[in-house]
């Protein structure tokens, strides 16, 4: 089972308390009516599907209830870092460097 650190609870907890919530740092167009069909399609459906460090959202659903962001290596399934929602996106080199 994965162990995930909740940045709000500041505890490392079993995966069963969490729910995955898709890719992180996807910005909704501020004025959807003015967005082109392509922009709107990209916002709704197009995801990066990376091999390696993946920025994604999780929710501590059976705990504090908060959404937060995580960087997970999609090859090893290892969590590189978790940080509060709304935080700046950490650089890939910073998080992958610290894990090796």
């Amino acid at each position: 089972m994965l162990l995930i650190k909740c940045p709000y609870c500041d505890e490392t907890l079993p995966e069963l308390e969490f729910a995955y919530a898709g890719e992180a740092h996807i910005t909704r167009p501020p004025t959807p009516a003015e967005a082109s069909d392509e922009e709107w399609r990209d916002f709704l459906f197009i995801r990066s599907n990376v091999k390696g460090a993946h920025y994604e959202r999780w929710r501590h659903v059976h705990g504090c209830g908060r959404f937060f962001n995580a960087v997970r290596d999609t090859v090893s399934d290892r969590f590189l870092v978790t940080y509060p929602a709304g935080g700046l996106r950490p650089a890939v080199d910073d998080v992958t460097g610290s894990s090796k």
């Binding site: 709000y8 500041d10 069963l16 059976h62 504090c64 209830g65």
Partner: protein, 183 residues
């Protein structure tokens, strides 16, 4: 699997040499949501210092509060205190906006105690229970159901379960009581 009724009266559900599971008397429960800046004002109004760290509990008389999230608390009190708590919060609503919701009937509480109470909870709870110290608590998961767990002593717990999930969650506890006693 033990089949339990969907309506629970207070009283003992199961008692073996391993652990006891008891449905406790109904009580008043509130869910409080408030921003960090308003916590002090609400604490003063309630006459109860709200804990600020997730999992910490405070108690004033028979009223208890536990911090569940960065802006969320659960408050339990005897039924007789409910009106006082509600009116105290209403009185300061303009100065300290918040949400106080009565959830008394949403959940039922069971007390789990006995020599192997902690072992019994591990049947459904994936968390390391040793990380929850006596007089702390957490919101966590038990057999797929969100529960609020209060640890009152090393081998004494209270579990708040949503009423609709109670037959499912409690039947595992009752089965576990019997099985642990047979070991």
């Amino acid at each position: 699997m033990t089949q339990l009724p969907t309506h629970f009266e207070s009283g003992q559900l199961s008692a073996t040499s391993a652990a006891r599971v008891t449905v406790v008397e109904p009580m008043a429960r509130f869910s409080l949501r408030a921003g960090q800046g308003d916590v002090t004002a609400i604490s003063e109004a309630l006459d109860l210092a709200l804990p600020t760290k997730i999992g910490q509990r405070t108690k004033a008389g028979a009223t208890e509060a536990m911090c569940l999230g960065p802006d969320e608390w659960v408050i339990i009190a005897p039924d007789s205190e409910a009106v006082r708590l509600e009116s105290a919060c209403t009185a300061i609503y303009d100065q300290a906006p918040h949400s106080l919701t009565a959830i008394s009937d949403r959940e039922i509480t069971v007390r789990i105690d006995g020599p192997r109470a902690a072992d019994l909870l591990t049947l459904g709870c994936p968390r390391d229970l040793d990380a929850i110290l006596p007089n702390e608590g957490r919101r966590t998961v038990f057999d797929g159901v969100t529960v609020v767990l209060w640890r009152d002593a090393e081998q004494e717990f209270r579990l708040d379960v949503w009423r609709s999930f109670a037959p499912h969650a409690l039947s595992l506890l009752v089965t576990g009581c019997t099985e642990l006693a047979l070991e």
